[in-house]
């Protein structure tokens, strides 16, 4: 009898179809094909968390050095902008909470946002979703699969980060709670992205809105933290909820319940919005573009195509400049007490004055290495445009290859230069206000002196993209080598000729009694050779192959 009822029901239900029909096989397919795109986020966050507990005892071996760090961090309001709560910097777990909690959550959220947008909006843009939607698939299944991918991805991220951190010496309790905050932040922003995917009419709008929300909340959290704002400010900002867990001290788990509740609410809103909108449409219709164009040359085209990237990185460098500027003001506290740190950040300095200026050289070199990243991204854009068949119609006009490449290379070099100068200016402003004997002019001049080395690193990518784009990953070699040699070289006591491979090793200290510019001349010569290789290669090779 019951069996008969059961069989009678199944066809009836199948005929109407649920909103989530087909979600399971779709999720399986999505996990198989898109799942590995979550891997880099898992790797970076795990590295962030695990390296904290791994490096801590080595960099801060003594109780005195740990206290010095705590004092320095406490005295530095800007640090809160980027980092988490500095509850207890005298243990590896406390250090991990300070260093990784906020930043790790931010990265997990980015991973979740891109996963959701890719599986929902981007598929609608590419037409893949249409193919899927024409199959036996409930209206809500694609959203469900995309969100599930992000939720599972965040969970995997948290689990891996927790396990590896514990293996590297972290305590179970704090490591698990820190990892749980990563998961929670990832979940919340999977929800945010699910909502923005219904609002924006294309993938770009949807992810910009979600990332914008993330960035704003992250900064507000940082401002509230560094200004000791009233308690209610941290309860209205979801990004502050994870901070309220204080993993290394009180270890409160219940704020995470708030994040789960918010995730549920956001997903519910997203599913309502999704059920009401038309396929391929969004609440925010894209505005019409201009009917006539004003971009007339390869340079202006390159600037236009990279506008978003340049603006984003400039903002990031204002932040970096602020943070490093405050570092510089408290450099004697952080570095002075500890020979190991001094070895890395201010090699060879003996007096406090030298210490500050040596630190400035190192910190600006670091900023320079990071500033090479947007430049290299601009250069790599040449290759991606080429592969997308957008260079072909341009070069079929009266535009010569060298001019096309030159427009892009100039944009790349200018972008990196802008980043260094922006950060240098902010850093110089903050540091000179801090009464540690840093003059604004000196700090800015030091930033200018760093620029030629940045160009060399960018020029490596020009040579790769111009002459041998098949190995475009090699474009990052310059960044990798400079970073490794600048940060780790002095510690391992490498020979000068090895250290000299990094162009930043040749950056002179502009406050030194006699400034030696021959190093910069050599660096510039190398830049010229690399650029020549890139241009010659780009002239000779087959395009779009």
């Amino acid at each position: 009898m019951t069996a008969a009822v059961g069989t009678a029901r199944v066809p009836a239900r199948r005929a109407r179809g649920g909103a989530t029909t087909g979600a399971a096989p779709l999720l399986a397919a999505t996990l198989r094909h898109d799942g590995r795109r979550f891997a880099p986020w898992v790797a970076v966050v795990t590295l962030l968390s695990a390296s904290s507990v791994l490096v801590y005892p080595w960099v801060f071996p003594s109780a005195a050095s740990r206290l010095a760090l705590a004092t320095a961090v406490g005295a530095n309001p800007a640090i809160g902008l980027v980092f988490g709560p500095a509850d207890d910097l005298t243990t590896p777990d406390g250090f991990n909470a300070w260093r990784a909690l906020a930043l790790g959550g931010f990265l997990a959220a980015l991973g979740a946002i891109f996963a959701v947008v890719r599986a929902t909006r981007a598929q609608e843009d590419s037409g893949q979703a249409e193919l899927l939607a024409s199959g036996v698939l409930g209206r809500g299944s694609r959203l469900l699969a995309g969100v599930a991918l992000a939720l599972i991805g965040s969970l995997v991220l948290g689990t891996v980060a927790c396990l590896v951190t514990v293996l590297c010496g972290g305590g179970w309790g704090p490591s698990a709670l820190i990892a749980a905050t990563f998961v929670a932040t990832g979940w919340m922003f999977a929800g945010v992205a699910a909502v923005t995917s219904q609002l924006g009419s294309d993938a770009r709008t949807a992810s910009s809105m979600a990332v914008g929300t993330l960035g704003t909340l992250y900064l507000l959290r940082g401002v509230a933290l560094s200004l000791d704002a009233p308690a209610w400010t941290s309860w209205v900002n979801p990004m502050s909820w994870t901070v309220e867990t204080h993993p290394a001290t009180e270890a409160v788990w219940w704020p995470l319940l708030l994040t789960v509740a918010l995730t549920a609410v956001l997903l519910a809103v997203a599913s309502v919005l999704q059920s009401r909108r038309d396929f391929g449409q969004g609440a925010i219709a894209p505005g019409p573009g201009p009917a006539r164009g004003r971009d007339t040359g390869p340079g202006r085209l390159a600037v236009r195509l990279n506008r978003g990237l340049v603006v984003t990185w400039s903002v990031a460098f204002v932040l970096l400049g602020t943070v490093f500027g405050f570092f510089a003001t408290s450099v004697t506290d952080i570095v002075g007490a500890d020979p190991a740190v001094r070895q890395v950040l201010a090699a060879g300095a003996t007096s406090p004055d030298q210490l500050v200026s040596a630190f400035l050289v190192t910190i600006l070199s670091l900023l320079g290495i990071i500033a090479a990243v947007p430049g290299i991204q601009v250069v790599l854009k040449v290759r991606s445009e080429e592969l997308d068949d957008r260079v072909e119609p341009l070069l079929a006009t009266a535009l010569a290859r060298p001019r096309y490449l030159a427009g892009n290379v100039l944009t790349a070099l200018a972008t990196s230069t802008l980043c260094v100068l922006v950060a240098g200016m902010v850093l110089a402003g903050v540091a000179s206000a801090g009464d540690v004997g840093v003059a604004f002019g000196d700090a800015l001049l030091q930033a200018v002196a760093t620029v030629p080395a940045v160009w060399t690193v960018v020029a490596v990518s020009v040579a790769v993209v111009g002459a041998h784009p098949a190995v475009s990953l090699a474009a990052w070699l310059g960044v990798l080598a400079s970073f490794g040699l600048t940060l780790l070289g002095p510690t391992f006591g490498l020979d000068d000729w090895v250290l000299g491979i990094s162009p930043f090793w040749h950056v002179p200290n502009v406050t030194a009694a006699s400034v030696d510019l021959t190093g910069l001349l050599w660096v510039t010569l190398v830049t010229a050779v690399l650029l020549a290789v890139g241009f010659a290669g780009f002239r000779r090779r087959d395009l779009a192959r």
Partner: protein, 307 residues
């Protein structure tokens, strides 16, 4: 054909990608003021040829002259005189169609403003939409307008109408016809038979990296047979049907094929048996291509292949 007046003159062109030979001694001559159809199955080497002509790929061997110049060395002066429409147009996602047209136009050295406006109108293109919002056909229109709005001597069109609706296909054919009347030379690679039939003065057919046939449409049709369907009053005897091929006789209904230059002869024979109904179909372009694209073409059925 006088070689000196050839706008495109390619001889013995070879090009390999790794160990795969894409072009194996290609010859192609296009005369000034003509529309030259460039046909062949997928992967035959059409787009590779076009990219060599545009100086995007470097020829491995052979000689290539375009408007009397070398497409690899004289890129800039040469490209001022030609315009190109790719078969798969990829636009910048955030750039409106109007901006893309102007960008390509200015880089070529300017557009004819009046014609630009007129083409946008005729192709019913909304120039304010962004690249990522256009459908395939509309992206194609952007590239077509950009190319046809410029005053150039040579148009290189690589499957330009893929994705266009029949109405727009018609507009395209008109616009190319106007370009030819202005004196432009057109290299038209296409799979649309009607387009080739109505536009092309001459045709070259490429297979496996070589041009296997080249000539006017009539030339190519010449050695292909027309189909005859007839209903006769008396059953014909087989000796009388020597002029016909592939004869199929079903009672009084006859179907057969006949060489195009022997149709008259065949009619005389058939009239002798009392014709009550007759249809003669010229070889369709499609059947011609099917035969020429297919395996064994060139070798067995077209001894007159121009090489």
């Amino acid at each position: 054909m006088s070689v000196t007046d050839a706008v495109i003159d390619v001889r013995g062109l070879t090009k390999s990608f790794g160990r795969f030979p894409a072009l194996r001694g290609l010859d192609l001559q296009v005369e000034r003021g003509q529309v030259h159809g460039f046909l062949g199955p997928n992967g035959a080497g059409k787009s590779t040829t076009v990219r060599v002509l545009l100086g995007l790929l470097r020829a491995d061997g052979g000689t290539v002259r375009l408007l009397g110049e070398d497409p690899w060395d004289d890129v800039v002066p040469l490209h001022r005189r030609l315009a190109y429409v790719p078969g798969d147009v990829s636009l910048w996602p955030g750039m409106s169609g109007g901006e893309a047209i102007d960008l390509l136009g200015t880089m070529r050295g300017g557009l004819d403003e009046r014609r630009r406006a007129e083409l946008v109108e005729r192709f019913e293109l909304d120039p304010t939409k962004r690249g990522r919002q256009y459908s395939k056909g509309n992206r194609q229109k952007v590239a077509i307008v950009a190319a046809l709005a410029s005053d150039v001597e040579l148009l290189i069109l690589d499957e330009p109408t893929s994705g266009l609706d029949p109405l727009m296909e018609h507009v395209f054919q008109e616009a190319v016809g106007e370009a030819r009347r202005r004196g432009a030379t057109v290299l038209l690679s296409s799979h649309v038979m009607a387009e080739v039939e109505s536009l092309a003065d001459r045709i070259s057919i490429i297979r496996e990296g070589r041009v296997v046939r080249s000539g006017t449409l009539a030339d190519l049709r010449g050695d292909t047979r027309s189909t005859v369907h007839a209903v006769l009053e008396r059953a014909p005897d087989s000796r009388a049907l020597a002029t016909l091929h592939d004869v199929r006789l079903d009672g009084h209904a006859l179907s057969a094929t006949v060489e195009s230059d022997r149709i008259g002869e065949a009619m005389t024979v058939l009239t002798g048996f009392g014709l009550t109904s007759l249809t003669v179909e010229p070889p369709s372009l499609e059947s011609l291509f099917l035969r020429l694209y297919g395996d064994g073409a060139g070798a067995a059925t077209s001894p007159a292949a121009t090489r």
